[in-house]
Amino acid sequence: MKAIRGVLLTCDSAVKQILLTMNEKGSFIIEDLDDNHLVIKADEEYRVRRELEAELEKNTYSLE
């Protein structure tokens, strides 16, 4: 039996696909659980969230 420390991310499948792509650049995913769940390294969480935010921001149209 093994216990691995990490952070469980619960997200929709679109976000999960973006995360998988991001993982190819710099690995942070510990385990791909299912369509909506991933376990990632705890100390990478902040960076991942920031990069994801930037990535999602590219997909929105702004009036300004």
Binding site: M1, A3, L8, V15, I30, E31, E64
Partner: protein, 506 residues
Amino acid sequence: MVGPSIRIKPAGESSKASTVDGGETSHRLIGFLLSQPQSTMNRLYQKPSSCLSIFRLLQPLERQVVMNLLWLETPIPGATMAAWVTREGKRPYQEALSTLQSLHILPQQSTRPGPPQSVKHNLNPTFKASLRQAITGGGTSGSFGILAENDDKHPAPDIEALDAFALERWETILYYMVSSGTGQFPAKPSQGVLYLLQRSGLMATVHGATLQITSAGFQFLLHPPHEQLWELLLQYLQMAEERQMDLVEVLSFLLMLSTTELGKVGIHTIQFIAQVTQALPHAQSYSTENLSATQKAMLEDLRDYGLIRQRTATSRKFSPTRLATTLTSSSPPLPTSAGTGDGSHVQGFIVLETNYRLYAYTDNPLQIAVLNLFVTLKYRFPNLVVGQITRDSVKKALANGITADQIISYLITHAHPQMRKNKPLLPVTVQDQIRLWELERNRVKSQEGYLYTAFASHADYEWVLDYAKKLGVVLWENPSKRCFFGSVEGHMNIRGYIERRSAGNA
């Protein structure tokens, strides 16, 4: 004794317009009083003004019960009272009784089991005597404040002056909060106010020196003034003991202020008219002479909050402002013309269109600053600001801890009378979009913990999983992969459990 049945208004029927009268939730001060010991409450009830103010804050049904009991000399059997209550009214009636007991207005019933008929209701004698005195007058305790002798050299300020003063003080506090961290440096409120804001968690120091508004502070700004005022005053009450102030005196002074009359002699002060020799002109102040040392010390704080006005710091007279006189009533705490908003419809100034454009008919810097929290402002005219609700502006507000519901309720409360012809009041597209923007922030949820995997057998897996489920720490599981994710809190227990088991096996 025969009387009409007590009718209970179904929830939701009560009017939303007033904050004190019709609300389904009890007043914030009542919540605070519920936590006070009996001795404190009994001392408070010695003042007729405190009793009257607390009576005004009670729910309608509670007031009804108090009024029924007020003029009875002997206790009334519980069964007689209960006969008035309709079947649907039973539960609210019981709740009202228990609130009154917690407030020590009704004495606590002994807990010994017995038939309910044996229960007798009677008001707390101190409360009864004081409330009777408040209603009928008489007595010379000066509990409602003593009017100061008129002084031709320094006439008492009139209502306009008092309103202007209260508004200036109050808006200074709010404006200071809203513009902290924006690089502007508006007038600072006094040290006492700053300390209070910090203690209540509405502002916090960042990098040592500068005070910055917190997310609780942002939410605070969107509340109606009556709530804001009580939020600060409750914090003030909580600090009273640290500052070695007598809580009862602080409370009774606040409640006394709430019964005073704004700038003129009213019904509560009629008994003092005889003492004032001259014919009364338009304005009147109260005297500080019968105040205790604690209450005199409070004058300074209350002056800073804009609740009272004194000509000089050492003046022996003070005039309560509208902020003080409306503490326990449902009338607006700030003068209507200035429109800082109290939920009344007259004061609306915001027009919101389906294209997210927002027109605000105001020149008040505080209102503009509050709007700036969640609107991108575009143009500014002498009496009008125009802006747009954008994704960025709403995201900025959300990042500050303001919720979509708060934005929407602020817009509804301050909607221009023209908007009130629309049904629904705010364009649905805009409301929905603001909520969607909020949801967008929560696309990823993260929980820290441990992934338990690579179990030797399915039995082992089931056995650990069962234990983790009993602890309630399982966040995700998959039997076919034989792994599960448990939260951090459960890890030590699970580890210990596995170690004990393997030690037992070995």
